[in-house]
Every structure is written in C-alpha cells, then in structure tokens.
C-alpha cells in the first residue's frame, strides 16, 4: 500500500507523542527523536506536532529555529559539528576544518551527495582544554588533528 509522506510523518509523530506525552514540555524530546529518525524536521512535521500538542506551529518553529541541533534543512546520516570558538580556534580548528572539507568534498553547511555526511559549525562544547573539539552525531572527539580526521571518517564510512 502506498503511504503518503504526510501520513508517514503523522504516524511517526503519533508514536512519539505516545512515548513522550502530549504536554507542551514534550516538544523538544519529540523533535529530537523525530530528527534522529528522519534527519530533518519538515514544515509539515512542525504543523503536525503543533496540532498533536495543541500549540501553534509558530511556537514549534520558534523552538526549531532556536536550537541548531534541530534542523529544518535536510541533513545526512552523520552530522559532523566542529567547534569554532576561540579555544578550539587557537588549538588549530582551521586545519581540521580544511581536512574535513577536502576529505568530504563539501563545505560547511552542506551535505554530501550520497546523503551520508553533513558538515556544520558548532559553538562551545565545554571541552575548551581539549580542543579542537568535534561531534559526530552524539559522539565527542577531542584534540582532533588533520591526521585523525581520516581515521574518524573511515570509522563512520564503514557503518550503515
């Protein structure tokens, strides 16, 4: 049976509402899970979740646009976030950034054509003494060097 994109989104969200509740404070956990499942929080998903939680879509958009981890743009399976704040910058984040761009063939803000990797800037992750710091999805890497980049990427390339 053919299921439309909207129906699928709605099913997914209804499941998440069952898991997290239908109160306003369930919004962020629902959005986080939805992002993990779908890689992107679509316009329709924002309206549908608003309807399920009895709030308005503008509120959902306010939240989604506030948190950089909740993206309205389509993102790859693995989202790489490199810290750009001062400590990591001084520890050599620029070289790491160039290596990432070279290895993946994309610039920051882009996703590889195969939809596997996205490259994003992030602000402080709270490990300033161990910079440059980098997140791949929810895994933290510290003291990243250009040499290590290849290793890290390879470990993800082999995953599904």
């Amino acid at each position: 049976m053919l299921i439309s994109q909207h129906e699928q989104t709605l099913d997914q969200l209804q499941g998440l509402v069952e898991k997290h509740g239908d109160q306003r404070n369930a919004l962020i956990p629902i959005l986080q899970d939805f992002r993990d499942q779908s890689g992107q929080i679509t316009d329709y998903a924002m309206q549908a979740v608003a309807n399920l939680l009895k709030i308005e879509p503008s509120e959902v958009y306010g939240v989604v646009s506030f948190y950089s981890f909740l993206s309205e743009r389509p993102q790859g399976n693995f989202v790489i976030r490199l810290c750009r704040t001062i400590s990591c910058d001084m520890a050599g984040k620029q070289a790491v950034a160039r290596q990432l761009e070279n290895d993946l063939g994309i610039t920051f803000g882009e996703t590889t054509k195969d939809g596997r990797f996205s490259l994003e800037w992030a602000n402080c992750m709270g490990v300033c003494d161990q910079g440059p710091a980098m997140l791949v999805n929810e895994t933290l890497y510290t003291k990243v060097s250009p040499e290590k980049v290849g290793e890290i990427l390879d470990s993800f390339k082999s995953r599904a």
Partner: protein
C-alpha cells in the same frame, strides 16, 4: 506552601525610591511601587495589557548594595530596599541601551507612520541620544512585508520588545508572531518566516496598537482614497462606524472618551466625501437580519426538531473573529450567523439600493468605510463580498488613517461645526451606536427580540432599556434572561416565519459575550466540553479587547483606562439618543423599515436579503503549504 510563607507574602515592606518612602506588599515590582509614588520610570517592552517580559532593559534602576542594575518591571520587592531611578549610572546605562537599539534600527522618523507618536523616538529625545555610539544601519536589513491586506510589517524598525508576540499569544491566542532564531539572528517572525498574508493571522491589528515603534502599521490606503476623491467621475461615499467617533478625538489631543460624531461629519464633507453615512444604519439592519435568523434557529431547532441551523448562534460582525473561527474552529462555521457585518451590508446597499434611488451607476461609486479595525481591510477584499456586482466596499480606512486625512486637509477636528448624517440612511438608533462596545450587539439584539416577543417596550423590563447584565469588560460573560409568560402578537415583519410566540413564552434565554479571541477560545473550548456556554442560544464574540472601541485601527496608545473611557462615551451617546427622542432600538429605525417596504420586500432573511445581506464562510483550518 507553609502558612508562614503565605503570611510573608502579604507582609508590607518598606521601600525608598529616589528618597521617597512607602510600604508595599511583598512581590510588588519596583516599577509598580514607583508608579504608586508618582515616579516615572521609562519602559518599552512593558505594557499594561500584557505579561511582564523584561527584555528591553530600559527600565533599569540602581538598588543600594547591589552590584548590577536591575530591570524594575521584573524585580519583585521582598525585602527593604533603597532604589535610585535616575542616578548617573542608570542614565548612562539607558543611553547605552538606546544606542544599542539604534545600532539595529533602520528607518527615518519623518517618513514613518509613527512619527510623533513613537515610544522609541520619545525616549531618544528624553535621554538626549546625540550620536550613534554603536553605529546605525544606513541600508535596510529586512524586506518590508506588505502581503497582508491589513498589516504591514517592517522589521527594520523592530526593537524586539516582543509586545506583539505577547499580544498575539496571550491576548488573542492566535500566535501568528513568534521570536525566531537565536542570538544576534533573533527576529520577530512568523511560521517558516512566511509573509503575514499567508500564515494564520486574523488581521485584528492588536499588535499594531501595542508596537512601540513603526514596525507594525496598518496598510495605508489614504492615497488611493485621495485619488478617488480627486477623480470628478467618481461618487465617493463614506460610512462611519460608531467606535471611531469615540476615539478620533485622541488623535487631535482630546481626552479619551470625547465623542466627535457630529464634528466628524462636517470634517468628512470638507475632506471631499460626497456623502457621509452612518454605519449604524446597517448595524440596525444587522440586528433585524441576525435577530430574525436567531428566532428562526430557535424555532427550527427547539420546535421543529430541525438541526440544519445549529445553536448557539454566533455573531458575525467582527471580521477578526470570523477569520479566527475559520482557522481554529471550522467545524462550528454553521453556528456563525450568515448575516454580513454592518460594513459589508452597507457596501451592498450603497451599490444597489442607494445607486438605484439616486440614479448613479454603481461602477462610479467608490465606497469607503471608516472603521476602528484593520481586519475590515481584509473583509472588504474577500472575494465573496461582491454581491452588488462590484466590490461592495472599496476601501476600509482605520481611525488613524482618517485622522491623517483630516489633518492633511488643514482641519482641526474639534473646531468643526456639528452636522448630521446624509439621507437616505440618516441617523441610526442608539442600538447601532453600542455595537462599538463588547456586549453591544447582544444588548441591541435583545432589545429588539424582547420587544418582538412581548409586544411591550423593553423599558418595562430594564430601566431606560439598558440591559446592564450583558455590559462590562469581563472576558467571558454568561447571562440568563427570562422571557415573560405574557407574549404579544408576531410583528408583521416576521409573520411569515413564525406563527406565534407560544413556544417561547416563559423560556429562559441563555446568552454569552466574549471579547478578545483568547476569551473566544475559552468559550469555544467550553462548548466543546459541553459546559454552560454549550447551552447558550446566542453568543456575541468580538475579536478585540473591549469590542470595536479597542480595535486595531484605533488611536495609539491603548490600555484598559482608555478603553473604558471610550465605552463610557459610547453608552452616553446611546442615552443621549433617548433623551433627544431619537430611536434607541434597531426596529424603530425608520430608514431600516423603509428599506423593507421599498427594497427588501420579502422581509428579513428573504430572498433578496439573502443575496445581498448574507454570506457564507470558508473553512480554512491551520495547515499551510
């Protein structure tokens, strides 16, 4: 909470502000305490109608013993403190705060709709802003959003006080506007940053009345109206709603609540309008049509068991409310009276009845409406509002726009001689006048329905025909009225619809009144849950707080005191009609009765009435592509 803590909350705490001493209840903010002492602290994000946000910081004060300055609007007094509101440190901080705002505020005052009525401009003057310490944009940062028929958004002028967001969220519960983004990229936006014309917005304009700058303004159509006035081939007529009369004086420096009805008539002719009509004429017509519809609904549902016209019946005068229910409760559209709003009824009558009577080609008539309302601009552009064969109403002007036109004509409104409205519609009844206040439509309808049913004067039941229980500023009101056991004959005008009144005698009529769509939502949720409002027969809803007199097109500023003063002026005018021997009830309006004899010959809710004076609605829902 322990008893001790409760007691502590009501404790009176000594506070010294600028050397003046007082005692305030625990929890009182510094701003409130200062107001009590007669000390003025400047504010921007604070607004009496709204919850406290504390984002603009302009109200910072110095508290003895504290290292940093505190925002007085959010600081609750819980222990004895000494406050300085204008110390050098405070003054310097305020100047810096203003300079920071100007570093992102693009726009020139003299071309701004809010020139001379701008809170930011006033503060700049008050705190002597002389240079832009942190720079000043010399190019616009945002595009101006002109997509809405009613509201123009210029984010370049926005200082992010979020009054509009709070108004839309708390007051109206529409939430069209929201803070979008984070940090220095934060801006006031809509869902997906779509143009306002494409999102769920009811055009009520309450955000405009609370915006401290010119970031939100009503779409200005005065130039188009001037063009029509200057065009010799056009016959330009204006209808004026009751609410602007009670408020337009404020634009000319008068106290709120100074009525300008008769002076305004003269001023409008001076401006160049060919005819000046009273929207109250169609307010009276609305009462006849909507009242008849109510009687029909009651008769069908309660006597004939026909559920095609469900109860309760909702009023349909407020275009903000109509769009609200189309978006939020489309399943209840069958409950909304099919009668058009007075503005649109008048539009249809002018381009048919009036045109015919005066031998004017309706295509040469430009029909302008003076309204307290921005949503009327949207309403007159609804595609279905063209039953006369032309767009029924061409332009909806707000009170502010008209004040501007009067000033441009070199007229000082209070100096104008008094004059009456033009025939054939003439002066309407006092019931039409009170449409401007919340509960007014209900009162007007009840006056007529009671007289229709009992055959007796309303004065027998209510002193001076003032149905006090439906008046007032309480958000949602529920009132029960007893129909007397003794009923009269059915008046000729509706004899073809109901045979007698036996079915209604001794019954209790339950009515509800709500103003502000936030309150409307409470009523709707109560109805959905089967609460007391679900038992109502008739419910009046006005989208704006206080009714039309608090409309989004009314002079700025607004607050409860101003709205109460305007309401007083409205009820005083209704009283004055009675004292002058003029009609106070819609069905006594002779021009209305004449229309039923000459034009709408099948009577209220007849075929022609349905074509010209009734409409249908669009279920819009909340999803957008």
């Amino acid at each position: 909470m322990t008893q001790q803590a409760t007691a502590a909350n009501t404790e009176m705490i000594p506070v010294t502000i600028d050397g003046k001493e007082t005692r305030v209840a625990s929890g009182t903010t510094i701003l409130e305490a200062a107001k009590h002492l007669g000390i003025r602290i400047p504010t921007l994000c604070y607004h009496e109608d709204l919850c406290v946000e504390g984002v603009c910081r302009i109200c910072v004060v110095e508290i003895e013993g504290m290292w940093t300055l505190q925002a007085s609007c959010t600081y609750p007094i819980t222990q004895a403190i000494t406050v300085k509101t204008h110390s050098p440190k405070v003054r310097k901080a305020r100047r810096h705060i203003l300079d920071l705002m100007f570093s992102e505020h693009y726009g020139e005052c003299y071309s701004c709709a809010r020139n001379n009525n701008c809170e930011l401009q006033n503060l700049a003057q008050e705190y002597g802003v002389d240079e832009y310490r942190f720079g000043h944009p010399d190019l616009p940062i945002f595009n101006i959003d002109k997509s809405s028929f009613a509201i123009t958004r210029d984010n370049n002028k926005c200082i992010q006080c979020r009054r509009c967001v709070r108004t839309c969220a708390e007051f109206q519960e529409v939430k069209a506007l929201e803070n979008v983004g984070r940090g220095n990229k934060t801006a006031i936006g809509t869902f997906l940053d779509k143009p306002l014309g494409e999102v769920v917005c009811i055009n009520c304009g309450q955000c405009i009345n609370r915006c401290p700058t010119g970031a939100l303004t009503a779409k200005d159509q005065t130039d188009l109206v001037w063009d029509a006035i200057e065009d010799p081939t056009k016959h330009v007529v204006i209808q004026t709603a009751p609410a602007p009369r009670a408020a337009i004086g404020e634009e000319f420096g008068l106290e709120p609540g100074t009525p300008m009805t008769w002076e305004m008539n003269s001023a409008l002719r001076e401006v160049g309008f060919n005819k000046v009509f009273d929207t109250n004429f169609t307010a009276d017509l609305t009462i006849i049509e909507e009242g008849t519809e109510l009687i029909l609904r009651l008769y069908k549902t309660l006597v004939q068991g026909d559920t095609s016209m469900p109860l309760p019946q909702f009023t349909s005068c407020s275009p903000g409310w109509v769009k609200y229910i189309e978006h939020f409760y489309p399943e209840y559209l069958g409950n909304v009276s099919s009668a058009k709003s007075p503005q649109q009824m008048f539009g249809a009558m002018i381009k048919t009845y009036y045109a015919e009577k005066n031998n004017i080609d309706p295509k040469d008539i430009v029909s302008v409406a003076l309204m307290p309302c921005t949503a009327k601009k949207f309403e007159c552009n609804r595609p279905e509002m063209a039953d006369s064969g032309h767009q029924d109403v061409d332009f909806g002007l707000t009170t502010r726009e008209l004040a501007k036109m009067i000033r441009e004509s070199g007229i000082n409104l209070p100096d104008m001689p008094k004059s009456d409205f033009d025939s054939p519609f003439g002066t309407a009844s006092g019931s039409g006048v009170i449409f401007a206040a919340t509960g007014g439509v209900m009162e007007a309808a009840l006056r007529s329905v009671l007289e229709f049913v009992t055959g007796k004067q309303v004065e027998n039941f209510y002193d001076h025909a003032d149905i006090i229980p439906v008046r007032g500023f309480e958000g949602c009101r529920y009132v029960e009225l007893k129909i007397p056991e003794e009923v009269g004959p059915v008046p000729a005008i509706i004899q073809h619809l109901v045979p007698d009144w036996n079915w209604i005698k001794g019954a209790t009529v339950k009515v509800g009144v709500a103003h502000g769509t936030g309150n409307a939502r409470k009523v709707m949720e109560d109805i959905k849950a089967g609460g007391k409002f679900s038992e109502c027969h008739f419910i009046e809803v006005m989208a704006c707080p206080g009714g039309c007199l608090g409309g989004g097109g009314q002079p700025i500023p607004t607050n409860l005191d101003i709205r109460e003063a305007r309401a007083k002026a409205i009820y005083a005018e209704d009283r004055a009609y009675g004292e002058a021997g003029k009609a106070r009830k819609s069905h006594e309006n002779e021009a209305v009765l004449k229309v039923y004899q000459e034009f709408l010959k099948e009577g209220p809710c007849g075929h022609l009435s349905h074509k010209l004076l009734h409409t249908d609605y669009t279920p819009r829902g909340k999803y957008i592509d």
